[in-house]
């Protein structure tokens, strides 16, 4: 198997010694079927132990290795070297503060995720004896796509509205709110609406659609948000009618 020599330009940032980030170049002998994550692992194992980055499953299900590769938000484990030239630029995800090297601070997202109540809110609590919830395949299909989100945050990296205004709740959190709103077992739409339908919620979104384009799991958060806009707008208007909740 022939090896390819790839020049990796990786953004470094060591908070204890650097004033600002800078690019460091590594020359990496790669197997042709490697992904960018493999090249990073080679760098860390053989060339520079100090390089820091997140990764875990190496099979695009955990969402840990989000980064920007040649200007495009991608999972490191899903970026195949055969799709790139001999020089690859790797940076941390955009729109998040850099903790160190390719590791970003995601606390803001965690707070936003919690704020949309990403769990089933049932009509009333069910005991084991009452039996399980029943759900038809059609009811499952209604929300299944949005349940595939792995919180990799590539969508936040791609979203220019999040970049312009970090108070935006953001694609992943709103897609997950939609996942629960569309679940037949859930009655929590009203409970989520204060965050979802706020100025910083769905209404900050201008349907750029970049989030859905970069999503590695085809969640289509942009679609989730637009669908939520329709139901939320109807909710808002009808809430002014007699009997509506305000």
């Amino acid at each position: 198997m022939s090896t390819r020599t790839i020049t990796m330009e990786v953004l470094r940032y060591r908070p204890e010694q650097d004033q600002e980030p800078f690019f460091q170049t590594y020359t990496v002998p790669c197997d042709p079927d490697w992904v960018v994550l493999d090249a990073l692992n080679y760098i860390k194992d053989e060339l520079d132990r100090t390089l820091s980055y997140r990764w875990s499953c190496h099979m695009f299900v955990c969402g840990s290795c989000g980064m920007v590769i040649d200007g495009e938000p991608k999972l490191g484990c899903k970026a195949f070297l055969k799709d790139y030239g001999d020089k690859i630029r790797v940076e941390p995800m955009a729109n998040f503060p850099i903790e160190r090297d390719l590791v970003v601070v995601i606390d803001d997202f965690i707070e936003k995720l919690e704020s949309v109540k990403p769990y089933l809110i049932a009509k009333e609590p069910k005991t084991i004896e009452q039996g399980e919830y029943l759900q038809t395949p059609a009811q499952l299909k209604a929300y299944k796509q949005y349940s595939m989100c792995i919180n990799c945050l590539l969508c936040y990296s791609a979203c220019p509205q999040y970049g312009l205004d970090p108070s935006f709740v953001g694609p992943s959190a709103l897609a997950l709110a939609h996942r629960y709103n569309m679940d037949s077992r859930d009655v929590g739409r009203k409970a989520r609406e204060d965050v979802v339908a706020s100025h910083e919620g769905i209404w900050e979104c201008s349907f750029v659609g970049a989030c859905s384009q970069v999503c590695p799991k085809d969640v289509d958060p942009a679609g989730a948000i637009q669908q939520t806009k329709i139901t939320s707008a109807i909710d808002y208007v009808t809430s002014f009618l007699p009997g509506g909740n305000r």
Binding site: L164, D194, H199, A233, Y236
Partner: protein, 114 residues
């Protein structure tokens, strides 16, 4: 976080976007081909247009299309201003929706004068 009132202009934006997507290309085509080659000069003559727009049902349709178009472009201009870095969203909103309101009233006045 309170629920945003952006829902209402968004409804008009969506309705206007749909209306303009379906009707605007052919309207511009008609006036454009007239401008270039004098096509449709019969339809665009004073007598024909007077009679056509004079019809009350047509007035309502024309108003509907222009109303939706005005509020569609107003909301989109608000978003574009934000995308181009203009931070004063409330000020921009007042200006664009104010202009749309002026345009709406102007349309009514103009249609009533025909």
């Amino acid at each position: 976080m309170a629920r945003s009132s952006k829902a209402i202009p968004w409804f008009l934006f969506a309705g206007g976007g749909t209306a303009t997507a379906f009707i605007l290309p052919v309207i511009i085509l008609v006036t454009g081909l007239f401008a270039l080659f004098g096509a449709f000069s019969g339809a665009l003559s004073y007598e024909t247009m007077q009679a056509f727009i004079g019809n009350w049902l047509i007035k309502i349709i024309v108003f509907g299309i222009l109303f939706l178009t005005l509020w569609h472009v107003a909301h989109r201009l608000r978003v574009v201003a934000h995308d181009f870095g203009i931070r004063a969203d409330t000020g921009v909103a007042i200006v664009v929706y104010g202009l749309a309101a002026v345009g709406t009233i102007a349309t009514i006045v103009a249609l009533l004068s025909i």
